[in-house]
Amino acid sequence: MKSYFSLTVLALFLPATMLCYQLMPRRLRWLVLLAASYIFFWSISGKLLVFLLISTGTIWLAGIGLDRLLRERASRLRAPGANRRDIKRRYARYMRFVLAAGLVVNLSMLFAFKYLSFAQRLLAPLATPLLAHAGITFPQEAVALAAPIGISFYTLQAVSYLIDVHRQSISADRNPARLALFLSFFPLIMEGPICRYGDTAQALWAGRPITAENISRGGMRILWGLAKKVIVADRVNLLVKTVFEQYGSYDGGVIALAAVLYTVQLYCDFSGTMDFVMGCGRIFGVTLPENFKQPYLSRTASEFWQRWHITLGTWFRDYVFYPLSLSKPVKRLTSAARKAFGNRMGPLAASGVALLAVWLGNGLWHGAGGQYVLFGLFWFVAIWIGGLTEPFAQALCERLRIDRASMPYRVLQHVRTLAIIFVGELIFRAQGGSAALGMLGKLLGGFTLESFANGTVLGLGMDAADFVCVGIAVAVIVAVGILRERGVSLTTWFWSHNAVTWSAAVCALAIIAVIFGAYGAGYVPVDPMYASF
């Protein structure tokens, strides 16, 4: 069950889970989801399940600890003659300790699985001679640990749960099994979205009955995701893989094409998986947060990240950016910057510190590698510069009497943003930091359309028919996105008509996926791309 779109999941695991869920009394249905989630996890990561259990156990204990401290504090504050200031200060200290303990245990596991090898490589040149003086040998062989599936996703959910309990925006869950379901719900475990306990958890154990409408509409969403994956993501895989793995053999034009196709592939694979997740959630009556809102329609770099992998962006915003920006040292920096650069530019300039932390964190969250650090730095620069120059852009447009809402200006913004996105994804997909720089160098220094003219591009894993197929599919996806942007949902439109229209739409989509899907000889299906992060 390495992909949600495998036959085992779609034809066996999901229907069996639905059947058991529906047959169970309503108050016990969430236990079916928990059992299914743990079976799913076990089928991919085996004994590494123990780390999910450790995460769940420690986060549950820390939550209960915080809850108990809050109740104790409240009762002491009510006591006659209580020194309120002293009690508040003392309990704030205790609560910070419990929060830190929970975070350290969970983030340490994440670090050990994802970054130990990277840290070892970074430290080796410095640590090897230093330790040699003390007669200690620094390990030279790479420490490679197989990570439990979804550790990056469930750890962020666990961290958000604990911080929210600490902030008192939610109450701690007293039932460890219910918390276990929130952290392991099988549609979420591989690629997110990263959910908040306050928004999602209640629906998971509500045990809502499976209805015909939810099966139909959820199924349609899954089918749409499957179509995006097999028609586009799998079709471009061979070309993308070939060029990114041997970029030295190709000119800038081919590299640009690979960067564009990789961006399309990543979108279709990741958002296609999210369609499965949303559809699956709907079947069980659980509304999950959307992770994509037509990102290709963004007009600025900042807007792109409000539309792409939304739950990761909001996680970093709420738990890193705001707390850092509003921390005492950054506030002092903001005051100094306001004196130096004025009320508008000062806070923007100072928020660069928090923004840099967010983007280094975002880059490294995806993996330990130079390309991810570069990716983070690239988006930090793009977004921060965008924010800093916005007041000047406003003033300039007013002065030149340019209407910022006019079509040509908007088109210009879209084109600029797409170019930024393509470069960002090129860095992201590169096989390391130096490869990313090498590819960018070729893009800037060796751009030529020769490979297009002499037909070389048609020998890289995609023939002319493949290009046409991808082009049409992308046009359809963009058109559906534009309709969605205008509040028109095709699913709702088909559903509002009679059963025949609905069945025809479902059959048409299924037939299109079967006919135009890229599978069999000559194609290499792409593994779920975000499952490895």
Partner: protein, 77 residues
């Protein structure tokens, strides 16, 4: 409330802040703008706005911002 409106208009004059209830949800106020806004509100009303208060409910509308400022003033933060 007028003081908040002045601050918002200085940040972006093209928005009708009195009628809007989706300033964060519609991405009219992004996180960089919100940090600037928080900084200005803290200065104008002599309050401290903690990170836990920086949630869409408090910044989606002029009224939400005003209620948050009032709450911060009452709590002495």
């Amino acid at each position: 409330m007028d003081a908040i409106l002045d601050i918002l208009n200085e940040l972006n004059p093209d928005v009708d802040y009195r009628d809007r209830t989706d300033l964060v949800d519609s991405r009219t106020l992004d996180s960089l703008t919100i940090i600037t806004l928080v900084s200005e509100l803290e200065d104008a009303f002599d309050i401290t706005i903690p990170a836990v208060e920086v949630v869409p409910a408090n910044f989606n509308s002029l009224e939400g911002m005003w209620k948050m400022v009032e709450r911060m003033r009452e709590s002495g933060l």
